[in-house]
């Protein structure tokens, strides 16, 4: 018994020491002067390989670093990953002390942390993706998701055979409403007869709900579903693939979101390979991150401004994998894209604006 206790005590001491020492890992050399431009980012809990905006942001940063002959690390470009909400402010602070010239907070979850740290360190430059922070030393990067969603709406409207289309949203928040409104407008613009069924799962990480919603939608005759629901959307893909496996001749489609989700749609049936991904609405976080880094390096840090990346800036659009889209549909997409860029069509961002848009079509 005594022995066991001693081992336990030793173990807890080692663990406690580990925690304490781990904290002192990086000595900070604040105030050390350097002449080269450095840039870093803090991810939210997803990490730089989340196949979503964190990964995209890091790709943009990496490309910027490589184009400018920078090294990964403290003298060039770097990132810190957050394990939980509590890490955001700490990680931002760490980067501030390492003297980075521009620090990104990736994702709307980091809004509060960026606001706080930007207030405390008014001389540092920050940027936040997917949110707005009204501070003179913060550049806010947002996207016109509605414009990209409009284009995939055009694809859906021209591809559907049943004239029934589905939309699965993660949470009912203004950001996702932009996806919904733009998508519905796109469908209506090219196919007034089509109806769009809208459902929200209430979460971004529950694939089972996504699957159940998709199951009910496909059963009711819907043949194209656009999901803006993160990991909940995995369930939409798995349902579509299961149905495709059961009946390879049935035409059912999923439209992906944020990045090219063609790999998620691959399904093998009896030696033949199918893909249920019709197209994806991609959000080019990398383009935006690159652009802001470039501007800042040139001394034109867009502090206090809200930057909106839409179709003209190549900030949103349809995915490069276009094997499942018919050529005439692709042609229509390009026409609408041009109309939006030229300002002839104003894509709605809310449900109220969508109603006006719908009325204007008649």
């Amino acid at each position: 018994m005594m022995k066991k206790k001693r081992i336990g005590l030793a173990l807890s001491l080692v663990l406690a020491a580990g925690t304490l020492l781990g904290g002192c890992g990086q000595g900070d050399k604040a105030g050390e002067k350097k002449d080269n431009f450095t840039v870093a980012m803090v991810t939210d809990v997803g990490g730089i390989d989340d196949k979503s905006f964190n990964q995209s942001a890091w790709e943009g940063l990496k490309k910027f670093g490589e184009d400018n002959n920078m090294k990964k690390g403290r003298d060039g470009y770097d990132y810190l990953q957050s394990q939980s909400d509590a890490d955001y402010a700490t990680n931002l602070n760490k980067l501030v002390r390492s003297d980075f010239d521009l620090i990104y907070g990736i994702g709307f979850l980091m809004t509060d942390a960026v606001t706080k740290i930007a207030e405390q360190k008014p001389k540092n430059h920050f940027a936040i993706v997917d949110s707005v922070v009204k501070k003179p030393n913060v550049a806010s990067i947002t996207f016109k998701e509605h414009e990209g969603s409009f284009l995939v709406g055009v694809v859906a409207g021209l591809t559907t055979k049943t004239n029934k289309i589905g939309f699965v949203g993660g949470m009912e928040i203004p950001l996702i409403e932009k996806f919904e409104s733009g998508f519905r407008a796109g469908v209506k613009a090219v196919n007034p007869k089509a109806t769009v069924e809208v459902q929200y799962a209430g979460a971004f990480d529950q694939a089972d709900k996504g699957k159940a919603i998709a199951s009910s939608m496909y059963a009711s005759g819907i043949d194209v579903i656009y999901h803006a629901a993160g990991a909940t959307g995995n369930g939409v893909f798995s349902e579509a693939k299961d149905l495709k496996t059961k009946d390879p001749n049935r035409e059912i489609w999923v439209i992906g979101v944020d990045k090219d989700q063609a790999p998620e749609g691959v399904v093998k049936v009896g030696g033949k390979t199918y893909n249920v991904t019709l197209t994806s609405m991609v959000k080019r976080v990398d383009v935006a991150v690159y652009d802001v880094a470039k501007k800042t390096k040139e001394g034109q840090f867009p502090g206090g401004k809200v930057l909106e990346y839409g179709l003209p800036e190549n900030g949103v659009g349809i995915a490069p994998t276009q094997d499942n889209i018919k050529p005439e549909v692709l042609k229509a997409v390009n026409e609408w894209k041009q109309k939006i860029i030229d300002g002839k069509v104003k894509v709605p961002t809310t449900r109220d604006e969508y109603k006006q848009f719908e009325a204007s079509l008649k």
Binding site: K4, V45, G46, G47, I48, D49, D50, K51, E172, E197, Q199, Y200, A201, G202, F204, D205, Q206, A207, D208, K209, K211, A212, I213, S215, S216, A219, S220, A231, N234, G235, F237, S238, K241, D242, L243, T245, K246, P263, E264, V266, V267, K268
Partner: protein, 319 residues
């Protein structure tokens, strides 16, 4: 949409949603009937999901159509081994069973994400290519009315889950092994005087719960998410735990509760398309399953009595 069409959507999705919960809850029944609290079900599901996805991705080319089944077996074995940690801590070392279970949960998600990162160099795995197919059960699916509801567009593991609940009921209540297991959970000292090895019974029970929890996670990952990431298993182990308590530690009760959760869940989803529910704000439909659970727990099932010796380590010769 008519009532029958609606049922045709609600029932199949209730069943596929419930299947992983049934497996895991049955595992929980074994462990807790023997007197060991198993909060670690969530972690065991995580390990099962992780194992099955990795197995599937690695061996899909070699085993073809059999891959998902072999992946289930692999998840079962790894789940059982992983639950040994809980068994050793809580039975041999008499640690607090709740704390040990929580440790299992933390360890499982940390370890599996770490391994994913090491193996694939990214935070989540690719999607698996071969899953379980949707099937129409031969003959049974042709029965009018019931056939399309219960036997069409189903997954084989879902039917196995329901059948397993009856098997577990038989084992626990009709075999000597089951009697011993329950005796160990109710009155270990009495069982001990009758010559039953308490520690051995409890080890077996915890390992069975690990195996079933692993299968539950594997079924979830293979049918529903098709990949493994930090969000794959989000609270399903705890729902299984709730189903077990809701079902009064009885295998058939646990199965019924899991099906009830599934039904409530799919009702909340399909409800958004039912005409007279359409004007209800979505959020109320989404919280409905949880509210129903609380109501059912608080009002309808009456007292749920846990096995008497649940949570107390057995010390030989101590009164």
């Amino acid at each position: 949409m008519g009532v029958y069409e609606m049922l045709q959507i609600i029932v199949p999705s209730a069943i596929f949603f419930a299947a992983p919960l049934i497996f895991t809850a049955l595992g929980g029944v074994f462990s807790e009937r023997s007197g060991v609290v198993n909060i670690g079900l969530e972690g065991l599901m995580v390990i099962g999901a992780f194992t099955s996805v990795v197995f599937n991705l690695t061996f899909a080319d070699r085993f073809g159509e059999w891959t998902p089944w072999l992946a289930l077996v692999a998840a079962m074995v790894v789940g059982a081994i992983f639950s040994l940690l809980h068994a050793v801590a809580s039975i041999t070392f008499r640690a607090d069973q709740v704390v040990s279970g929580v440790a299992i949960n933390f360890l499982a998600i940390g370890l599996s994400l770490f391994l994913v990162k090491k193996m694939y160099g990214k935070g989540q795995t690719d999607q698996i290519q071969i899953g379980f197919d949707k099937i129409d059960v031969p003959i049974l699916s042709h029965i009018p009315i019931i056939g399309p509801l219960f036997f069409s567009n189903g997954y084989i593991p879902s039917y196995i889950a329901i059948a397993l609940a009856f098997v577990v009921w038989y084992i626990l209540f009709k075999t000597p092994f089951g009697l011993r297991l329950r005796a160990v959970g109710e009155h270990p000292m009495a069982a001990d005087t009758m010559g039953i090895n308490v520690a051995r019974m409890r080890y077996i029970a915890v390992m069975i719960s690990g195996a079933l929890g692993g299968v539950g996670g594997a079924v979830y990952a293979t049918i529903i998410s098709r990949d493994f990431s930090h969000a794959t298993i989000s609270g399903h182990g705890f729902m299984a735990l709730a189903a077990m308590i809701f079902g009064k530690w009885h295998p058939l009760g646990a199965m019924g509760a899991a099906l009830f959760f599934g039904l409530a869940q799919s009702l909340s989803i399909v409800g958004q398309t039912i005409p007279f529910l359409k004007n209800v704000p979505t959020v109320y439909l989404l919280i409905a399953p949880y509210v129903l659970t609380i109501l059912a727990l608080a009002g309808f099932i009456g007292r749920a009595d846990a096995p008497k010796a649940l949570g107390t380590p057995y010390v030989k010769g101590k009164r």
